[in-house]
């Protein structure tokens, strides 16, 4: 064991973990800046401008403010669960980055069941929301938590089923192999991405992913007009920040998964000298992921929230049948070809 701890393999792994964890945490902080700035632009406001050029130091100011704010714990709350809930929602959200391939070798570990691992881990994230709402011992958080758990169970089904078609084509559950299978092109121009083979699955995935991350137009769990702030109404200071970090981490995860499964992950045109070739896959990957993130933020700024019964009906009666039909059609085509 001592041998392993001093081997170069272990050191490389630690460096990978540090780079990915640090990069992800930095990106999450700046996601809040990006979201505020973009929302402001859509609403004809300048957004944060005071701290640093273009308000670029705003996340740091926000972080400091979060640290120095008073940490309020309601008197009639369940103290243990109230403190545990933000941790329970943040840890799974960050754990899923351990299997995401940011580049050909920039991946902490390539599990043989990587895709299922992400679904398993993110399905645990709902406990953070449910416990946070329940432990607050207050009506708005409880309503938000109940809505959120019902919503997440419903949309997890179509989210998971939409992926099955891709898995049948790629014949693997490992994220690294999924990306590798999408290299090369058809006829020399069209990239071999799964989006061209599974467009229906992609649309279902995209919609269910929005619902899974509790974002507009599906953010019934924290709809401000009805529930103040939903499950995190009673949270303040750093605990609130942890909930926000978890939400942003989930957005990045679903965007990264969409890129990996439907848009070829880190694949892309390669050119230039050796050093550039090493960096290019990661650049392509991050570019594709950020397109999805832009899409999510723009959707939040433009689409109104839907009603709760509409949300449930849409999930069970529209998305679920579509994803089931997609599986049947795909398996038929895979079987005859």
């Amino acid at each position: 064991m001592i041998e392993y701890l001093t081997s170069s393999e272990f050191v490389v792994l630690m460096i990978k973990i540090l780079v990915i964890f640090g990069g992800v945490m930095g990106a999450l902080a700046y996601l809040s800046w990006l979201e505020r700035k973009m929302m402001a632009r859509v609403q004809m406001r300048p957004g944060p401008t005071r701290v640093g050029p273009f308000g670029l130091l705003q996340p740091i100011a926000d972080g400091l403010k979060f640290l120095f704010k008073e940490d309020v714990i309601p008197t009639h709350s369940n103290k243990f669960l109230f403190i545990a809930a933000p941790v329970v929602s943040l840890v799974p959200a960050l754990l899923s980055f351990s299997v995401i391939p940011f580049g050909p070798s920039l991946q902490i570990t390539d599990l043989s069941v990587g895709l299922l691992f992400i679904f398993a881990i993110t399905s645990l994230g709902v406990y953070g929301i449910a416990l946070g709402g329940w432990a607050s011992n207050s009506k708005y958080p409880l309503m938000g938590a109940i809505r959120s758990s019902a919503q997440m169970i419903s949309y997890e089904l179509s989210l998971t089923l939409s992926v099955v078609g891709v898995l049948m084509i790629a014949n693997t559950l490992s994220l690294g192999e999924l990306v590798a299978a999408q290299q090369n092109t058809w006829l020399g121009i069209i990239p071999r991405w799964n989006i061209f083979l599974q467009p229906v699955a992609f649309v279902v995935y995209l919609i269910s992913a929005v619902a899974e991350t509790n974002r507009l137009p599906f953010d019934l769990a924290e709809s401000e007009q009805e529930l103040v702030a939903g499950w995190h109404t009673e949270y303040s200071s750093m605990k609130f920040a942890m909930f926000m970090l978890a939400e942003y981490a989930n957005i990045v995860t679903v965007s990264a998964l969409a890129t990996i499964m439907f848009f070829g992950g880190w694949t892309g045109p390669m050119f230039g000298p050796e050093l550039l070739r090493m960096a290019l896959p990661t650049v392509w990957f991050l570019l594709k992921v950020s397109i999805f993130i832009f899409f999510y933020v723009l959707m939040r700024a433009t689409v109104p929230r839907i009603r709760y019964d509409q949300l449930m009906r849409f999930g069970w009666k529209v998305l679920l049948p579509i994803s089931l039909a997609n599986i049947v059609v795909t398996s038929f085509i895979v079987a005859i070809s």
Binding site: M1, L81, L111, S112, V113, L116, F117, F119, A120, I121, S123, L124, V126, Y127, A130, L131, G133, W134, L142, A145, I146, S149, A150, M152, I153, E156, T160, L173
Partner: protein, 163 residues
């Protein structure tokens, strides 16, 4: 290393399982059950059954227990609700039944040959599980799915008075 991990997570699973029974508050019991299921899934990983471990978390910890927690939240049960009086007679059935299961487990373990180590990698992979489900265990697999379908229909019938 693997042995340390095994003993740690095995102890965690047993401790959490005991905690399910000891806790007075039903929410803590449910949470301990989630902890127990997750610890067991780590034991599956140590046995190189990755697929089984992940499915365990998705199905039990991620779906079924969410429903448990959901219902507990909806009912908002008072703390320390004591329903034990009504179920006192269960003690006299439960202890012999538990002993019976213990004997069953011990005799099964006694008869297992201890040399399955080389085959585990192949047995635990998703492809191998799919293969055996659709060849050797096709009938039990299909019968189970039929059973689940019937249970689903039964739930719908119960939930809706007039269809």
């Amino acid at each position: 290393m693997i042995q340390i991990l095994f003993f740690f997570f095995a102890a965690l699973a047993v401790g959490a399982a005991i905690n399910v029974l000891v806790q007075k508050h039903v929410m803590y019991s449910a949470l301990s059950l989630i902890l127990m299921l997750t610890a067991v899934s780590v034991l599956f990983i140590l046995l190189k059954a990755d697929f089984l471990a992940v499915i365990q978390v998705i199905v039990y910890a991620g779906a079924i227990m969410v429903l448990f927690v959901f219902v507990i939240m909806l009912l908002n049960l008072p703390e320390d609700e004591d329903g034990a009086d009504r179920l006192r007679w269960l003690k006299f059935v439960g202890i012999p039944l538990g002993l019976f299961f213990l004997v069953l487990v011990v005799t099964t373990l006694w008869n297992v040959e201890g040399s399955a180590g080389t085959q585990q990698q192949i047995v635990g992979s998703p492809a191998a599980i799919g293969q055996s489900l659709f060849t050797d265990f096709l009938l039990p697999f299909e019968v189970t799915s039929l059973l689940i379908l019937i249970a689903l229909m039964g739930a719908v019938v119960f939930a809706k008075k007039d269809l």
